[in-house]
């Protein structure tokens, strides 16, 4: 084990990309302004200098075609990391994603596969508005054949990115832009984080808080406040929605008897329904109350500085929900 350093989420993922590109010449990076410009969020900075224009491809603004090409490249032996600048633009790639990438292994009876990562950003907090804030992991999670990763901290993000690149199936990797500057300890050799394993971020006995992506951080904040009042919340980050580590969630709920699932996308027909249902189904007899769900408002994301923060859960709202559920 190499000593951990404290680095940002962005730096950690960048290191993971570097390591994987270095280790495997088949890894390619494809996207808009990911090359010489280093990414509009500086998320690919420096890679172009090392790996050059055959492996880092700056595309025109042609998301459907470029993503379709990434799939073809993956079928033919490359391991592309395709970047969709804003998660909102994933809407442009859905056909290629769902009708090709997700189904190639199945349609070929296991004779072909699409080892590809679709990396994209999402999240509120910078007032980017209705068409630059969305994360459609709920859609992806509903499509058999896709894996879905939503990391909440630097070490997980980096370790999961490495695992995603090595995975032989299409993996969707959703990054909350507001986490890019969040810091955390990351071991210098960036240990792989297995896809399909949840992480207990904080142990507790009174209630289980399940947070998706950045929501796990808000849940941790809420848990700290609650601890001052004697409530010990267990905070779990599923880290990957597909495959979902059901056992880890159930284990916690069997202990705490209460759970809140917290998501930063519109609540209706989002991922909280699936997770809550699984717990209700499989831990019904252990539950003292139905699983509670917190999600964002069922509205587009407004740009207004007063409205945007009201749109999705935060630590205060999670804390309040805990009190409601406990009472």
């Amino acid at each position: 084990m190499v000593e951990p350093r404290v680095i940002t989420f962005r730096e950690a993922v960048l290191e993971a990309l570097f390591l994987e590109m270095h280790a495997d010449p088949n890894v390619m990076l494809i996207g808009e302004d990911v090359g010489a410009a280093g990414g509009v969020f500086k998320q690919t900075e420096g890679l172009f200098k090392t790996f050059g224009a055959t492996r880092i491809i700056d595309t025109p603004i042609s998301e459907p075609g470029a993503f379709g090409m990434a799939i073809g490249a993956a079928m033919a032996g490359a391991r592309p990391v395709f970047e969709v600048m804003f998660g909102d633009f994933m809407t442009l790639c859905m056909d290629q994603l769902v009708n090709q990438a997700a189904k190639v292994r199945y349609m070929s009876n296991g004779r072909a596969s699409v080892p590809l990562v679709l990396r994209t950003t999402m999240g509120t907090g910078a007032n980017l508005g209705p068409q630059h804030s969305q994360g459609f992991y709920a859609w992806a999670a509903h499509v058999p054949g896709l894996k879905v990763v939503v990391p909440s901290n630097p070490a997980d993000a980096a370790g999961l990115m490495r695992a995603a690149i090595r995975d032989d199936d299409p993996v969707l990797f959703f990054e909350d832009r507001m986490l890019y500057t969040a810091k955390g300890a990351v071991e210098a050799d960036i240990p792989l984080v297995p896809i399909g394993k949840a992480r207990v971020l904080r142990e507790g006995r009174d209630i289980t808080l399940i947070g998706i992506g950045r929501m796990a951080q808000f849940a941790l904040d809420a848990a700290k406040r609650l601890a001052a009042d004697g409530i010990e919340a267990e905070v779990i980050d599923p880290r990957t929605l597909v495959p979902l580590d059901q056992e880890a969630l159930l284990q916690s709920v069997r202990k705490t008897h209460r759970a809140i699932v917290i998501d930063g996308a519109p609540r209706s027909y989002g991922v909280t329904g699936e997770i809550a249902s699984i717990i209700n189904e499989d831990a019904f007899d252990w539950l003292d109350a139905p699983v509670m769900r917190l999600g964002a408002a069922d509205t587009p994301v407004p740009i207004s500085r007063t409205l945007e923060p009201l749109w999705r859960p935060d630590a205060a709202r999670i804390e309040k929900a805990v009190w409601t559920l406990l009472s």
Partner: protein, 332 residues
């Protein structure tokens, strides 16, 4: 069902009247001052989100829209303040929207990139590159179905040239002979990428010609060229002869968005384009033609400065949206 009762536009033949070069000049000045104010406000942190300024591209914005009749519609893009103003947006309402204030035309929820102003025939700026193209084309289809004679313009940047969506819409407007004018504001870059690095083929205008669409590349820094070229395209469209494609070569004086360091631009090139600033050029010509005087232009500029400054002051003090607004207008 408000929209179903909308009336067909008045016949509107602006082509019959002498061009209002002075009015166009005034509008370009307004846009320039407006954008400068937004830049200051954004630099000072007063603007939520990202803003993309159109300073430098005023001749394109204004020359095209001045050639339209009142009922004609446009679809704009992420660099769209100029289009919005030229199409009649109220300065205060637009600025308030950009600052995300409650008094903004869209309640402060849409900001710079999603400003929709149907009352002025503006289908909206758009956060999706190319997003406005089918909106204008589709509005033309609707107009045709109800027997209207309006003309529809979609603006897009050179970056949108490589979106399949554009080709699909060009093809459909051509086969259906729709009254659409495609206007590419070619400022040489999409974000930090030069157009030549991502755009194949010998000529941009060929991208329209391939669909049988009359296509022309023009000096987008000269408001008169833009106006007269558009006027012909509009007349053609209104006469039922179908779409046209105009490529306006222009330059964004600022970066991609406020805060862009622009290291990807060459100094010499920048200098060359700054020398072609459409506003002084238009001003000189107006004076030379005796349509105005230097003194009058000075007064005009002072008026505009005041107009924009007043709007800025009012907007600064305007309240933010109340929490109750969050869930309004998701459904009708």
């Amino acid at each position: 069902m408000k929209q179903t009762t909308r009336k067909a536009a008045a016949p509107g033949r602006p082509e019959k009247y002498p061009p209002d070069w002075l009015g166009m000049h005034r509008m370009m000045l307004l846009i320039r001052h407006f954008e400068e104010s937004v830049r200051s406000l954004a630099t000072a942190g007063a603007v939520p989100g990202l803003v993309h300024l159109c300073a430098g591209q005023e001749a394109t914005n204004v020359g095209v829209i001045a050639a339209l009749a009142k009922g004609d519609m446009i679809a704009s893009h992420h660099r769209g303040h100029g289009h919005c103003l030229a199409k009649g947006a109220n300065v205060f309402s637009l600025l308030a929207e950009i600052l995300g204030k409650d008094a903004g035309l869209c309640g402060g929820r849409s900001g710079s990139m999603h400003f929709i102003d149907l009352d002025n025939g503006n289908l909206g700026t758009n956060g999706i590159v190319g997003g406005g193209i089918p909106l204008a084309a589709g509005a033309a289809l609707a107009a045709r179905a109800r027997g209207g004679n309006e003309v529809f313009v979609c603006f897009f940047g050179d970056g949108a040239l490589n979106q399949g969506l554009l080709h699909e819409c060009m093809n459909m407007t051509a086969i259906w002979n729709l009254p659409v004018v495609f206007v590419c504001e070619n400022n040489g870059f999409g974000e930090f990428t030069a157009i030549d690095d991502v755009t194949a083929g010998p000529s941009i205008v060929a991208r329209g010609e391939v669909f049988g669409i009359p296509s022309k590349m023009i000096d987008g820094m000269d408001v008169r060229t833009v106006f007269t070229t558009t006027q012909r395209a509009v007349a053609r469209a209104r006469a039922g002869k179908g779409p046209s494609f105009i490529v306006c070569n222009t330059w964004r004086f600022g970066g991609h968005h406020v805060g862009d360091k622009q290291d990807y631009k060459m100094d010499a090139e920048t200098k060359r384009w700054l020398a072609r600033d459409p506003i002084p050029k238009s001003g000189k010509r107006l004076i030379a033609e005796g349509l105005t005087t230097a003194a009058k232009l000075k007064t005009l500029e002072a008026q505009i400065t005041t107009q924009v400054r007043d709007a800025v002051d009012r907007v600064r003090n305007a309240p933010e949206a109340a929490a109750t607004r969050l869930a309004e207008h998701v459904y009708g």
